[in-house]
Amino acid sequence: MHAESTKLIKDGLWNNNPALVQLLGLCPLLAVTNSFVNALGLGLVTTFVLVAANALVSLSRHHINSDVRLPTFVMIIAALVTIAELLMQAMTYELYQILGIFIPLIVTNCAILGRAEAYACKNNLGPAILDGLAMGIGFMLVLVLLGGLREMLGQGTLFADMHLIFGSLANNWQLTLIDDYQGFLFAILPPGAFIGMGLLIAAKNIIDGYMEQRHTVAPSSGESRRVRVTGTIS
């Protein structure tokens, strides 16, 4: 059980990250990551929906006819997104207005339906929640990273407007990295999202390649290996 949990967490955060590896949910990912606060807002809502959807799907998996499971999953997700949307209207109305259409569009985020179909409908409640949490946080980290990078490049600030989520507590969180920065509009506009996302995926691949190299080189050094030449060569 412990190994299973570790695997779930590792998969969600890195090895099978919904944004960097599965490339799911790219529409909101690319559209709202023009600032840190927008990215964090959408990331939190998506994580909430992902965890709740996994939990509900896992609980009801024995009662759902497998022929109609996909529409049922979508309805569960849609109900949860509606709850999240109403909550946002009540608590963070300004952010709700900024994110606009991308809140209802969480329903169509294939990462959520993907987890329901691939994991939650086959597993118990506990692992399903953990999977949803790991995947949600993995997705949110990429959102926040991309949002932060684009905000820094585009406006020269970080954590601007954080009061939209955290209220008056966060009034002076804004960091201005460069005074009287001209602004790199390209990073805020959609093409900046595509290029930034591409660079993040490239960075992940570089790190993976480096890790793999270290793994494979280390044991083979020093000892000679015998190569099997008879029987089936795999």
Partner: protein, 334 residues
């Protein structure tokens, strides 16, 4: 993009890429001289900085890609890219503006697609389009032909942006004609002597590029198809709309000699890597660019349209190639 050989390569013409790049750069010289004469030393400073930075970036990227550095630089392709970008940028650009453009042209548009010969988009135009999107304010202010900064002033402005250049800049005529605000083109010209002076400067610069382009044509660096098709389609469209309502639409002469029309026709769209390959393909490619330039200039929101038009047609070049592949001699008709 893998180019198919469309004719039998029986004899080698001796046109190595190094020689072609050198010839194109030489052909830019009249245009550069004219731009310097009318708009001051800004263009020259742009080019010097762009070429220096471009070579450094090319060497850095080739090192990262673990490829030989020296051939990549000595073929001149990166230098030409930077020269073209430097010519296209406003004379009052600053070092970071040019720097960002070169970075995107060399690293993103060229090397991320696999280096020379593999880039689907014209690197100089990618750099230009990026700058236009990212820094619209800095990119739409052009130097005024009536007052010029001295070399020292220009040099200082380039590196530190100290001092003011307000008196030395103006909007280009193409930009002005787009924001007529109720007046006609005729009235606008009558009220703004600056626009007329600019048109004159632009005419001379265009003629200089035309001369350089004709020289390259005579040396058979490229064929006539793409430039002629582009200028014809742009001129015809301008004629069509211009004769109907000359008060609202610029005339064909204005469209051909203002902005970057002739520069693009001979130096940008003739890039062998990113344009269509066959002769019929080049005609379609050029005509498409001319048409898009007219459309974007007239109804779009940016003052000039060459970069976007070229990039859009770069995107369609492989498709054009597929449908204009010449038949092998003696093969069946279908």
């Amino acid at each position: 993009m893998i180019k198919q050989l469309l004719s039998s390569p029986h004899l080698h013409g001796g046109n190595r890429s190094q020689r072609i790049m050198l010839l194109v750069m030489l052909a830019c010289l009249p245009g550069l001289a004219a731009q310097t004469y009318w708009f001051g030393y800004g263009t020259m400073i742009n080019i010097i900085w762009a070429v220096g930075l471009g070579i450094a970036l090319e060497a850095g990227v080739m090192h990262l890609r673990q490829r030989p550095i020296k051939p990549a630089i000595s073929d001149g392709s990166v230098i030409l890219t930077c020269v073209l970008l430097g010519l296209a940028l406003p004379p009052h650009a600053s070092w970071w503006l040019v720097g960002v453009g070169v970075l995107f042209a060399v690293v993103f548009a060229k090397h991320l697609y696999g280096g020379l010969g593999n880039n689907p988009f014209n690197p100089a135009m990618v750099g230009y389009a990026l700058l236009l999107i990212a820094f619209p304010a800095a990119m739409t202010v052009w130097a005024s032909p009536e007052q010029q900064l001295t070399f020292n002033q220009q040099w200082q402005w380039f590196w530190s942006q100290q001092g003011t250049i307000d008196g030395y800049t103006q909007a280009t005529p193409l930009d002005a004609y787009k924001h007529l605000q109720g007046s006609t083109i005729h009235e606008l010209r009558a009220n703004n002597p600056g626009v007329i002076a600019y048109e004159q400067a632009s005419w001379w610069i265009s003629m200089a590029y035309l001369a350089g382009g004709l020289m390259l044509l005579a040396l058979r660096v490229f064929t006539w198809h793409a430039p002629v098709a582009m200028l014809t389609s742009l001129g015809l469209l301008a004629l069509l709309f211009g004769t109907g309502e000359p008060d609202l639409y610029a005339s064909p002469t204005q469209h051909l000699t203002l902005g970057a029309s002739l520069f693009a026709a001979f130096f940008i769209i003739t890039d062998p890597v990113t344009s269509a390959t066959s002769r019929r393909g080049k005609l379609i490619f050029g005509a498409g660019i001319g048409m898009l330039i007219y459309i974007i200039r007239t109804w779009g929101s940016y003052p000039d349209a060459v970069a976007f038009a070229v990039l859009l047609m770069n995107l369609s070049a492989p498709l054009i190639d597929q449908y204009t592949q010449p038949k092998v001699y003696g093969s069946n008709k279908n």
